[in-house]
Amino acid sequence: MTATVLTLTDANFEAELQRLTQPVLVDFWAEWCGPCKALAPVLSDLADDLSGQLQVAKVDADSNPALSARFQVRGLPTLLLLVNGVEVERLLGTSSKTRLLSLVKPHLPQAAA
């Protein structure tokens, strides 16, 4: 019913990314960030729609400074689409589900989402 949104951290990032075979949409967020909270239900919804084709993951930017620095996160929310561990798309700020779907669709294993 509801697909799992994975929590990534500085500690588990490498292992989780090696384990995952599908594209990963990573949401850098923070507890104090209002737009991040507005985006969260949309991401959860998208994760359900694309379950099995896309893994949605979240990174608490404040608690994971190494990942924030590594991906040069300059504002929140920042969304990164990683395919085989490589960043292929980046989006800053809130977005509609339509916009997010159009961003990830070309990169899905079967572009028929």
Partner: protein
């Protein structure tokens, strides 16, 4: 993906007035004990969001089965900005909405009805603002029409999916390539179309996200009515950049923030910017009760689907 559960056929509160009263009592207890945390669905065993505390769970899958209400409503109840006052006995506006709901009401169609109100309702509708852009206005009205079809059950499941996808594509064609650093009324309306072109019954974030984007349209409208333009926006951006380069970058630890510097060095521009932000906030303050009243009216009658 449908989020219907076994409780949906019984209607709101599974058709049980005692369940409604139990939930309201429970919500009041959580509120008075300060155990509610605003935001997305959450429950940590003692505190959580409105829906999380009612379910004692952070699983949306439990919502429909235990409440008989659609998933979009759970997302909305947790996602609406809080308007709770010191003497409120329930968290607001979630409490107002839960009180308004009649046990047994079939609420699935209400999501589409509400989105239609935001698009072309008599008080809240903003599609009329798109008159200068006929293609965009046609799209907003077509989306409203599709919501009417969903509401009335006149669109079977499979064509509906492609109809929604067509509407989403038309919205993207308008927003693609638009300057996103400055929110024009046209862009705000086109983004609203992006958010609204989903069936709430199968896309649980559609109602809350449409409301967020609708509020964005109203903010832009308020700032433009004040005379705020793209030229003003660009002037503020370039002035702030200059102030940062001249005063902050050389000694970041000692420098005041750029907005304080803006007030010191360009008081008239700072005043205009503050007036614009104030107008946007005031619009939000005026709209919030109208939105809650509209939702209460839609949720209250126990109309069959």
């Amino acid at each position: 993906m449908s989020t219907q559960g076994s409780g949906a056929g019984l209607g709101a509160y599974l058709g049980d007035g005692q369940l409604k009263q139990h939930w309201l009592t429970m919500l009041q207890a959580h509120h008075l004990a300060n155990r509610l945390r605003p935001g997305v669905l959450a429950w940590d065993g003692s505190t959580g969001s409105v829906v999380g505390t009612l379910l004692r769970s952070d699983s949306l899958a439990h919502w429909t089965a235990r409440s008989g209400m659609p998933s979009w409503l759970a997302v909305l109840l947790d996602g609406l900005p809080s308007s709770t006052q010191a003497d409120d006995t329930l968290p607001q506006p979630a409490g107002q909405l839960l009180v308004a709901i009649t046990p047994g009401a079939q609420l699935d169609p209400v999501g589409s009805r509400f989105i239609r109100l935001l698009l072309c309702g008599p008080d809240l509708g903003v599609a009329g603002l798109a008159a200068p852009w006929p293609e965009l206005q046609r799209l907003l009205l077509d989306i409203a029409e599709q919501h009417a079809c969903s509401d009335q059950g006149t669109d079977s499941a499979s064509p509906s999916t492609s109809h929604w996808a067509d509407l989403q594509q038309r919205a993207l064609q308008i927003t693609n390539g638009r300057e996103e650093r400055y929110q024009t009324l046209e862009l705000a309306l086109a983004q609203l179309a992006e958010g609204a072109a989903w069936d709430p019954v199968t896309s649980r974030s559609a109602v809350l996200d449409t409301l967020r984007l609708w509020a964005g349209v109203r903010r832009v409208q308020a700032s433009q009515q004040l005379g705020w333009t793209l030229a003003d926006h660009l002037l503020v951006q370039s002035t702030l950049s200059d102030l940062h380069r001249q005063h902050v970058a050389p000694a970041p630890a000692d420098a005041p923030n750029v907005f304080t510097l803006l007030e010191q060095h360009h008081p008239q521009l700072a005043q205009r910017m503050k007036a614009m932000l104030r107008a946007e906030d005031q619009q939000g303050g005026l709209d919030a009760p109208l939105v809650v009243q509209a939702l209460q009216r839609l949720l209250a009658p126990a109309e069959p689907a």
